[in-house]
């Protein structure tokens, strides 16, 4: 009961793990490219939570800074990814990934 009442590092880690798992699941299973991107965002958020949690619990600034950069990266990635998705749509007239398999052979 003591574990549940006092919020510690582990709680945050668990949450990040769950988010990470969901993200992976989305990336793996969903056909829609947009949803895959969402999964990626989830993964990034999970990573951010980890970073901030660790920097909170040993008082360094590194985690904070890195999370900042991760967000920036995420923004860039999102923009590019969206553009790519739109191109894919233009080319294949669809956004579900399995039908975009012209790399096969």
């Amino acid at each position: 009961m003591e574990f549940l009442t006092t919020i510690g590092l582990d709680h945050f880690l668990i949450i990040s793990a769950i988010l990470f798992g969901f993200g992976l699941f989305a990336v793996v299973t969903r056909k829609n490219a947009i949803v895959v991107l969402m999964g990626v965002e989830l993964i990034l958020n999970a990573a951010n939570i980890n970073l901030l949690a660790f920097s909170k619990y040993n008082g360094g600034m590194e985690g904070v800074m890195f999370s900042l950069f991760v967000i920036v990266l995420a923004a860039a990635e999102a923009a590019i990814a969206l553009a790519i998705v739109i191109n894919i749509y233009k080319t294949f007239n669809t956004v579900d990934l399995p039908s975009v398999d012209s790399m096969k052979e």
Partner: protein, 173 residues
Amino acid sequence: MTSTTYTVIFYLFAAITVFSAAFVVFSRNVIYSAFSLLFTFFGVAALYVFLSADFIAVTQIVVYVGGILVLLLFGVMFTNRIMMTDLKTDVLNIVPGILILVATIGGLGYIFLNRADWFVTSERLQGSVVERIGFETMSRYVLPFEMASILLLLALIGAAFLARFDKPGKSEQ
């Protein structure tokens, strides 16, 4: 505030985050998952606040909610005809997905709870970190900061280039 309220609030936001994320992942409707992603971001931002990274939390809301999520929605708009019944996306290789989901969450949880002993010092981040972020950015992380700005610029240009609207007839190229 007391530790109880603190705990309760934490669990609340944690729940919001996790469930909305689950909804994002499991809902068949893209629009729904997009909107529930909004809640996920908010929840995460709240958790950031708990981790006494208020600036990051704000950034999270501004960037993700104000930027990325809008982008995603635009993407949805572009790629799916609005108000069409079949905005649902079906799933593929569900079994390995489940497997991976379980393995990841289980493995990570097991490690975090039983195996790992983290290097945890006694001091904690206290109060706001905005000022310190400013110092760090201008002193120690100035180079990554500039890199990041350049990266953003490039991303901007790249995105604009990739997504530009081709005139008909040039689309073949």
